[in-house]
Symmetry: C2
């Protein structure tokens, strides 16, 4: 149940119905017992994961309206699983259903965005501290790999916005995973779900922000801090990263003034 889908390159194609292997009657202790219960993902969960990916990647713009029937048809499923997915995401505040109208991606107020940023500083900052204390060499290597991927996508002559967004997300969540606190990761995912649309939509539209290099600098500092187990420095670097991105968003003025 905790198991979310691995951050994977977003392939938002139609979801084909592949028949999952039927469970064979387990008689004796067998080799296949180790593979555990094969994740019989329900349709609703798959739709939820799909929409989540679209949201954090900024491919659904704030204010964009969704229709249950349209989404259902696009994904090749009935309206039912979509309802469930939208219900969950609406409960998380990642979507909002207006009374009689439609369901849409929330448009954040400036105040709401600032609150979200403050919460991110508190929560993700804590995660960075914890990761600096407990990260294993293996986890550090994974973080470094994503950092390299981000640098490549961001500093290339022709920046790859989508790739940079994905690498940035993978880098951050590899860091948070190193903290070893599943509920903390869920909390952060929820924050990203809310802030993702503006943050990454913007990065998609203004790829030159990437070349500014501020994010890369902080990522580098972060990695160095992690390697020497410096919790305070890791937190500072992450806070600088978050703060810089938030400041840029506020400059663009894509946020609603008030409610």
């Amino acid at each position: 149940m905790i198991g979310h889908v691995q951050p994977s390159p977003v392939a938002a194609a139609a979801m084909a119905d592949d028949a999952p292997g039927a469970a064979e009657t387990p008689r004796d202790p067998w080799v296949l017992d180790e593979v555990g219960a094969l994740a019989r993902e329900t349709l609703g969960e798959r739709v939820t994961a799909e929409l989540r990916a679209l949201l954090v990647a900024g491919r659904l713009a704030p204010g964009e309206k969704l229709s249950l029937r349209r989404v259902a048809e696009a994904l090749g499923v009935s309206m039912m699983p979509v309802r469930e997915a939208v219900s969950r995401l609406a409960a998380d505040g990642a979507l909002e259903v207006l009374p009689g109208r439609a369901v849409r991606v929330p448009v954040l107020t400036l105040a709401q965005f600032r609150e979200l940023t403050r919460l991110r500083l508190v929560v993700e900052g804590f995660a960075a501290e914890e990761a600096a204390r407990k990260a294993t060499p293996d986890q550090l290597a994974r973080i470094a790999a994503h950092e390299a991927a981000f640098r490549q996508a961001a500093s290339a002559e022709a920046p790859d916005p989508a790739g940079a967004v994905a690498a940035n997300r993978d880098l951050h969540f590899a860091l948070y995973e190193a903290a070893g606190m599943p509920s903390l990761i869920e909390m952060i995912e929820r924050l990203w779900l809310k802030a993702g649309p503006i943050l990454n939509l913007d990065m998609r539209h203004e790829p030159r922000r990437l070349k500014g290099g501020r994010a890369m600098q902080e990522h580098e500092k972060l990695l160095a801090a992690l390697r020497r187990g410096d919790a305070a420095a890791a937190r500072a670097a992450l806070e600088a990263d978050i703060g810089a991105a938030a400041a840029h968003i506020e400059q663009t003025g894509q946020l609603k003034e008030s409610d």
Copy 2:
């Protein structure tokens, strides 16, 4: 929480290029403007609220199994709204749906409970600091009232467990509300939803813990700190309150040993 209706039915467009200075045509102040959109609570939301209340109050014990049809019949509604409610709560981790079996209240591992406690210390501690800085006299009075209610319910000759649980919850959330950060409150509600069953189920079964008075002491310190705007002291008192309760729970050993 979600339902907001735009006051103006006319100017809802302008999503792409919106000039911030564009003022609406001022209509005459109409009497009916004051009556806001009457809260058309959907059935699913009401069921969700009902189950949430039952969970945080500890009236649904960990491991207890629920049946969609049973709950639907008990609440006098169809199975549909219950499905939606369970979907949301399951997405929050407040309930869990086992693959082919039933839906039940999660039984926390010791490790999970400790992680939850740490997160509560971080998040609710931050909320206490913020509240100490920003609480208005009105909000302080409300917190004090709940503190008095808790003291009465806990220190009476015949302790009132249900009343104490409710007063304790009201006290805490009045505090968090004083921080003025809606998303923060949602975050804390989610944490309480997960920890509520064990915390309050125990308080219900062991009312003598109330008479120990540890909670009352910390509540008193907390209130004093709030009144003099001492953020650090407020955080310390709240952390002591949370820590004491958590330590008691761990002693009782109602938690699963491992996964």
